[in-house]
Symmetry: C2
Subunit: 427 residues, 2 copies
């Protein structure tokens, strides 16, 4: 279906900055095919027209680190320390999950993401075929990484085999792509990490890993291996392939240099890091070092929202507080962390409104109090919007939400399944 978004304010890239201007955007199949210029073969009278009055068009947000299947665990594991949270609360629930629970959990997370303007997410999951099934139905764009844990250099590792099998099966959906997801230095031994890195190199796959999240992780790493988690991953060869490292809270200056030198993309998850008492990642320092910093929500068990506007709010605020200066990070950098930086990290042709890019867009209402006055809208996106301004969402050229109504997911059904599941799981 041809789509025209007529005469709307839109956030467009201009060099290293983003600028807001009034434009008409033409979409054909999965791509943006024209901005202001109507493509020659584009018959507007056959198109679906979206009126841009009182609307702001932004590139769909890229949630660069989450675990959507965990959404049923929202608000069930609060105010616990990191290791207590993971091993005593989350893992036991995980152990009781059925495969289809992960499917419904992922759909719940995707409803929340679509409703708040996210069009792409990078997911580390533990239940093969479930998140991919949910993505096929929801219409979202996703990078799927089956979480891998182990100790030996074992190429027959069952989880790795599952991951590779899922990749084969996912080839036919253009919105799906895949990475290898070794979980973390504290759950993957050095030989196992080396094996995963070798397989990634051979198959041309990227890696998605948790690194340097908690003080405990860093202390144990120092005790057991006399290095930092970053040095551990480096020596295992992880950074020889394109790597997305989530968290990176506990970093030395040398760690930052290693990440920068190896073009590792870092996903900061401010809500999760605060909520688990892990602190604040050195985001201004990473940005100053030239690291591609992306933004993610992390899973609902540790955030507890999958709303990137909330996350942009945290990212834009907390470092001004910790650094005692409002100038250390601003809305322009935060918005890029939530869009184009994530797209770059994931190797996807999305994350900005440009001709030839995938048509992944969110359209926000401007006739709402949080966006009023309609000045400095890049600031509004970080400092006053809450995600509920999102009215219409287009992913891969398909309208998945219009006027606040989801087109691809039966919300009532999902909520009903989540209720039954929580009752069964004792949540």
């Amino acid at each position: 279906m041809l789509i025209v978004i007529r005469n709307a304010l839109a956030v467009l890239p201009q060099g290293d900055a983003d600028v807001i201007g009034r434009h008409t955007i033409y979409i054909n199949e999965d791509k943006i095919v024209g901005i202001d210029e109507r493509p020659a073969d584009f018959a507007e009278e056959d198109a679906h027209i979206i009126d841009g009055t009182d609307r702001l068009v932004i590139p769909g947000l890229v949630n660069a680190h989450t675990h959507t299947y965990m959404s049923m665990m929202r608000n069930c594991a609060d105010d616990l320390s990191f290791m207590d949270w993971l091993f005593n609360r989350v893992d036991p629930i995980e152990g009781k999950l059925l495969p289809e629970d992960a499917y419904w959990g992922s759909l719940l997370g995707q409803i929340e993401m679509i409703r708040s303007g996210t069009t792409t997410f990078n997911d580390m999951q533990m239940h093969i075929h479930q998140t991919t099934k949910a993505v096929r139905e929801s219409g979202m764009r996703a990078v799927i990484c089956r979480g891998l844990v182990g100790g030996d250099y074992d190429r027959n590792d069952i989880r790795l085999q599952q991951a590779l099998e899922e990749m084969e099966e996912g080839r036919e959906c253009s919105r799906l792509s895949f990475r290898l997801g070794p979980h973390a230095p504290y759950t993957c031994g050095p030989d196992y990490l080396r094996m995963v890195a070798d397989v990634a190199k051979e198959k041309g796959l990227g890696i998605h890993i948790h690194l340097a999240e908690s003080v405990t992780e860093s202390e144990n790493m120092r005790k057991d291996h006399d290095c930092t988690p970053i040095e551990y991953a480096l020596s295992a060869g992880i950074f020889d392939v394109p790597t997305i490292a989530a968290h990176c809270v506990q970093l030395s200056e040398k760690d930052i240099k290693i990440l920068a030198d190896h073009n590792v993309s870092v996903v900061t998850n401010p809500a999760s890091n605060m909520k688990l008492g892990n602190g604040f990642a050195p985001v201004p320092e990473m940005m100053a070092a030239g690291i591609n910093v992306c933004l993610g929500t992390d899973g609902a068990a540790s955030n507890n929202a999958q709303n990137m506007f909330r996350e942009m709010g945290y990212l834009s605020m907390i470092h001004k507080g910790t650094h005692a200066t409002p100038q250390c990070i601003g809305a322009p950098e935060v918005f890029r962390a939530a869009t184009i930086n994530g797209a770059k990290a994931l190797g996807l042709n999305t994350g900005s409104i440009e001709k030839g890019k995938k048509a992944d867009l969110a359209i926000l209402r401007l006739d709402v109090p949080s966006m009023m006055p309609n000045n400095n809208l890049l600031a509004a996106l970080c400092y006053s919007a809450n995600g509920s301004e999102v009215d219409t969402v287009i992913i891969d050229g398909r309208i998945v939400m219009e006027g606040g109504e989801l087109k691809t997911i039966d919300e009532e059904r999902v909520y009903s399944e989540i209720r039954s599941m929580c009752s069964r799981l004792g949540l």
Copy 2:
């Protein structure tokens, strides 16, 4: 009008905690007249019935420190240091404001507050009669404090006279009450503060003041008066009357003891404090000392939202980060800071759902992703809700919003006036 909220989940106080249960709530005139028990003279068939299915009823939120008239300055003064922000950006715009600009600005802030479940606000304003006029129309409950600045012990101070005059005029509206609002130690000399404290004592008025907001304020106070801002206010007699102190970021241990010993209520404004680079108030320490800590948004020029859900998110998260432990503050304390603590500080019979209290309530949808699963809803209010879940708002027994539709304010008209105003002011 009689109102019945039938069979809804509701947050009710039980001793020092809040508990969630299913209840039917009866409202007559301005009060909650029954919870589960139908009052004898209550004819349900004559009542306005609100179905509680998939709804959560909470006490209306109390925004304990803001400047609603500044809402037109949203997103116009970002990423500036505190003194630069105040004296070089905000003050010049202030100087150009017409009285009616303050009226429309306040209405914009009130739209945002009502839509996100706030029913009461404590406002320091500079344009006499404008915020009160807006409150009369909006149906909100408000405590109005005309900002006072000066150097001498002058009981004929023009701003003080205006404040007293406004109080007389406001007597006839039961939703309005008043305090004296000496602005801050850096804008009020010791003699002036002493005069304001004396007038407050004589007239039985409370005080609302900014204290210990920035490092610069504390440094200058040390240089000029060899004391802290808290000690300065103490020696001027401010704490001899019921005082609400906004910010209190830069506090010594002795300051905390002074505030506790004098029953000063402190309003923490986490977003504003971060955004201006002022840092993090010692909230867990103040709570441990027994101080009544309330929550506020501050004005839209420094936040930039008037959404208390956003603020509850910040308050529940940031101290877990700065203190490196998730246990230092939790959803129960944050929710009380946003409700009953503010009501106590302001001396109002609101802030909790109890028989005999003012009927100030917000009703949230539970059939939305941020509240799903419907477990641990106190946690959901802090960690996953964003304010858009609020569907219906009752203030003083009057429905001011129902099903997302405002009943008291013409939103279109307000937005239109704000647009013209910003164009005139060059914002």
